[in-house]
């Protein structure tokens, strides 16, 4: 994690890239996975039916990992001046 304070208004002239990969990951974990619960429940993980586990906690921890990765990626972009 590197610190990269940006001056106010500095982003205005630059183009903002919509974080499309992270958004897809969000949609998959939050909207698609819970819909597939019955199919996923056939598999067990930590003695839980997988579908239930994902909705109750698995998806949230996966989101956390994606959030950390995406935040680091954005920090890097900002440091290299691309965003």
């Amino acid at each position: 994690m590197q610190t990269s304070p940006e001056p106010a208004g500095a982003s205005k002239p630059r183009r903002r890239h919509i974080p499309i990969v992270a958004l897809f990951a969000w949609a998959f974990l939050v909207l698609v996975i819970p819909r597939l619960v019955e199919q996923l429940n056939i598999v067990d993980v930590f003695a839980f039916p997988l579908g239930f586990f994902m909705t109750a906690q698995g998806s949230l921890f996966a989101l956390l990992i994606v959030a950390i990765l995406s935040a680091r990626h954005r920090d890097k972009l900002a440091a290299s001046g691309e965003e």
Partner: protein, 585 residues
Amino acid sequence: MAFQPVFFALGLATAFGLAFLSRRKAEGRVSSAVRGLALAADSISAPFYLGLAGAVFTWGYDGLAFVLGLGGGYFLLQLLVAPLLPLAAANSVSDYFGKRYGRTPRVLASFAIVLSMAALLVAQLIAAGLAGAQLLQVNYAVGVAAAAVALLACIAIRGRGATVWAAGVLFIVMLAAFLGPLVHFSTSNYGVPIPQIAYSNTVWQIQSLEEALLEQDLADPAVLKPLLRPFLSLSPVNFLGLILGLALGLASLPNVLSRHFLAPTVPPNVHAARWSAVFALLFAALLITAAPALAAYAKLSLLSLVADRIALADLPAWMFSFGNLGLVEICGRAATDVAAVTQACSGLPDATTVLRLQDLTLDPDMITLAAPEITGLGKAWLGALAAAALAAALVTADGPLGSIVDALGGSDTSGATRWEPLAMAAAAVAVAAVAAVARPAGMLTTATWALTLAAAGLFPALIAGLWWRRANAAGAAAAILAGLTVAILYIGATRFFAVWFFDAFSSLSSAGPMASETFDDLKQAWTAAAPGAAKDAAWLALDAHAQSIANLWGIKNLATVILAVPAGIVSLIVVTLLTPRQETA
């Protein structure tokens, strides 16, 4: 019982202590981790703290929509909103709309802010009232009044002091009160100190108990909602709508955005803003993923109680203490005491002397507060949970109040005297307290409506403001107006004018022929009833039934965003493209 008021005092002392220390401290630099804790406290607050486990307990798998919705909200916040807001050089959400779009969108956004924040404030006071009533063993209305007075005292003590670190400390208290006993329970019962994993055993135990109850005729297959079976309480569309409402609402919640990304004390640091939202997701996940564990432990204990064929005369005391708050019904009547319950159950066509699952209706709002007694973990945990919830409501209510005062122009210091914001806050608390006492909907439902209103009114225009340079004032105004109108009309009509709504839109409702027939019968009964008590009772029955079937295409009002947000997005895009480009901003 006698030591419970001590916990009430403890809750008050926590809130007052934090307020007093805040007064003496200036809002200096706060690390991302501390801001993350504070952000989690501000967004979860008392209603979700006390409501999440109840949702899973009552709705089984479908209640997990709350877990995913809130978690998904933090993710959107860190991805789309948090990093860009500090660069906007605005002081609050309404100020942001003013600077980005101009006067009209600002006025409309202020309206959305006041509505959603008022709903959140009401939900917080309902939570504080329930916790207070349970701790002091008083009437619910007295609990709400006590909480409202304490809230005003908190604001007076704090003044314009620092709030972020206080909310951060608060979240640690909330986590400790929630997780401590759960960890203890998981370790002693399953040998695993992580509740999120330990309760897998409970899930299977619940499943076999559910089957056993059905075999023994202690549960009605029409009423029992197995924990693991999805979409019994919410259809997939409603499940998705609820998730979206919570996620989009959390990502545009005015009290959170104003305090953590727009306050004058927040440096325009993209990195810090992004990471504080990531930390918020981390800390909030610790709490919200433990809620299903609490729900499962409570459910197992309750099912075991029913499986033991407990006699109505031997029901545990918690049923009556929550029954007196109107949150437990047995055989269709509030469980106020043994005599009332026995009488109600003996009057049923299939009269019973033992408790069956279908006789028992528990309000989701009470589950977390009752869990310590249901699981036999004792009064001390109940005290700690209720005290933490009370403190959460008192400390974080500052956020919605500040947003309301700001949106109404109270924080505009030019020309306004120092007491004006305070008077506005006091008026807002008084109105919210009256609404909380009337309790038009449960705590969790009201909090969900608050997030729905924020999502419908603010989210499309906020995101477009940050990510689409072409978005202009006309488009933003259209988006706020369309989204908010749909949300207000749909929530308002399906909850408060359900009979009229169903009459007008019965052809679009998902109600089957049986439900429609029941509606017609109840309506005839109401028309035929003699004026007075009989007519009132007939209306209550008709209205309650109408609320269960008043919908368009089966969409419940908890999932209103399914209708409101697309309306906002389409209006935004169409109107923006049809009107000239905005030169400034």
